[in-house]
Amino acid sequence: MGDLGINLPGLITQIISFVILFVILSKVLYKPLVAMLDQRAEKITAGLEAAERAKEEAAKSEESIQEQLQEARTEGQKLVTQARETADRFREEEMAKVKEELDAERARAESNIQRERDAAIEELRKEFAGLAITAAEKVVKTSLDEEGHRALIEGVLNDEGARNN
């Protein structure tokens, strides 16, 4: 052993030196460094997860926006159709109303005309009766013969009829 250079005091010195180094490096270097590495790994994992989550959320919100947009579009479409329908109905109603009014107006006008005509005929008749009476008086005042009588009446009636028609 001596020839190889192995001696107990030297060996023990080197063992102690190595153990001291081991302890110091463990305390000073490895513990904080490994803790730091772990911490960083954790941080990176958390960051990646957060990014993944954010991505998912963005996709989800995009989807919901799309959905809402679709909904709004359908809603709009429906509103437009409804409005058009309402407008059509309103127009038809108005048209019907106007037509009715027109009809009523015409009917009223026609009835007015009728009434006026009736009134005119009535008046004419009254006037004619008066005329007949007047003629009759005249006839009576003058001498009445059969022939003259008839010619007179005939003449009055013809005059009246020509005037009326």
């Binding site: 250079g5 080197q14 490895y30």
Partner: protein, 389 residues
């Protein structure tokens, strides 16, 4: 080629490279065969045990000296602790450069731990596995820095003789200077003559070589300098010269102040022991005392099971030994290779091998830590559980 020759700067670089290569080949040990070798230095005395830098103190278990590998170990520790403190003080969610570098390495090893030992035990095994890796890498890479193995103090002849189990050798140079008084001088002369030439120990010591260094006003610091190839004497010659190797010079061996930590078996054995102790501690705490010990002392499966248990015990001891010698062998061989290349081809010969040593240092650290992890993963799985499935 013409493009390179046409550009004056490229041409100058090319010429310098050629000049360095020529100087290296001619000035190195190869050139010294032809009487050149002006850059060659002595191949340093390579020895397996770590060298003593200064004397320590006596302990009940032997003498504790400050070894050069211990100093390197402490330097590597210091570097690692300083880096850790720096990272710790600037620890931030958004990492700086140093923190990012360590995060990459730590992440890599955490991933390996999770792969091999499972998520359950990965955090438990990681600190030791990573400490083994980072310490061995830093220690190995420090070992090939300039100054490691080449700058140190000079060990005198007496110390060298001591290493060769000759404990009563007396340096004639010291004897001459210290005992100038006439009555002791003759006596000492006679003594060291008989010591250095006399029969009982001289035979194997006489052929041992001593290097001669310039003495900086008796400051025992030296470097392996170029152009010192021929300045060697053997113990026999040293004795004949009565220790006189020239004015202002000193004979001895270079004892580097710094030597790659893992070229000392104490260091690699220490890491192996810590690793295996922790592996068995984990085995005990995960499987329980009976579950873990039952792997080694097994009465349930009959005589064959018992024998297998004994083989397991031998295997555990074998792991410690293979851990120790794999790391030590690779790094020590690398150091010797670098020394030899610096000796053979100064300047250029060492370059590819520096790269190789960087690679080997990294691979050995990785192998050591991975084997620790695998053993820990194996120790945390009970044998019975494996059989039932």
């Amino acid at each position: 080629m013409s493009k390179i020759l046409g550009n004056p700067r490229s041409l100058a670089i090319l010429l310098i490279c050629i000049a360095v290569a020529a100087a290296s080949v001619l000035g190195g040990a190869l050139g010294s065969a032809f009487g050149l070798g002006f850059f060659a230095s002595s191949l340093p005395a390579i020895q397996l045990p770590a060298e003593k830098v200064t004397d320590g103190f006596d302990t009940p278990i032997g003498k504790w000296d400050v070894m050069n590998t211990m100093i390197t170990t402490w330097l590597a520790m210091l570097v690692l602790i300083l880096i850790s403190v720096k990272i710790r003080s600037n620890l931030n969610e958004v990492p700086g450069r140093l923190q990012a570098l360590f995060e990459v390495i730590v992440e890599f090893f955490l991933g390996l731990c999770e792969q091999i030992a499972g998520k359950e035990h990965a955090r438990r095994f990681f600190p030791l596995v990573f400490t083994i890796f980072i310490f061995i890498v830093v220690a190995n890479w420090m070992g090939i820095l300039p100054g490691f193995g080449t700058v140190g103090r000079i060990a005198g002849p007496e110390e060298i003789a001591h290493h060769h189990d000759v404990h009563d050798y007396h340096d004639p140079a010291l004897a001459d200077s210290e005992h100038k008084t006439a009555e002791s001088k003759m006596e000492k002369h006679a003594k060291h003559h008989s010591d250095s030439h006399g029969g009982d120990h001289g035979a194997h010591l006489d052929s041992v070589k001593l290097h001669i260094f310039t003495d900086y006003q008796s400051m025992p610091i030296a470097a392996l300098s170029p152009a010192s190839l021929n300045e060697e004497v053997t113990f026999a010659e040293y004795g004949e010269k009565h220790g006189d190797v020239g004015v202002g010079k000193r004979a001895g061996h270079l004892v580097p102040f710094l030597r790659s930590a893992n070229t000392d078996l104490n260091m690699s054995l220490a890491i192996a022991i810590v690793a295996m102790v922790m592996v068995h501690f984990w085995g005990l705490s995960i499987l329980g005392i009976l579950g873990h010990i039952g792997k080694f002392i097994n009465f349930k499966a009959g005589p064959i099971g018992f024998f297998v248990g004994l083989l397991e015990i031998i295997g555990e001891v074998g792991r410690v030994i293979s851990f120790t010698f794999r790391l030590f062998g690779n790094i020590f061989a690398g150091e010797v290779l670098l020394m030899a290349m610096a000796f053979l081809l100064p300047f250029i010969g060492i370059l590819p091998f520096l790269g190789l040593e960087l690679f080997v240092g990294l691979i050995q650290a990785f192998v050591f830590s991975m084997l620790t992890l695998v053993f820990a993963a194996m120790a945390s799985v009970s044998h019975d559980g494996g059989d039932h499935h």
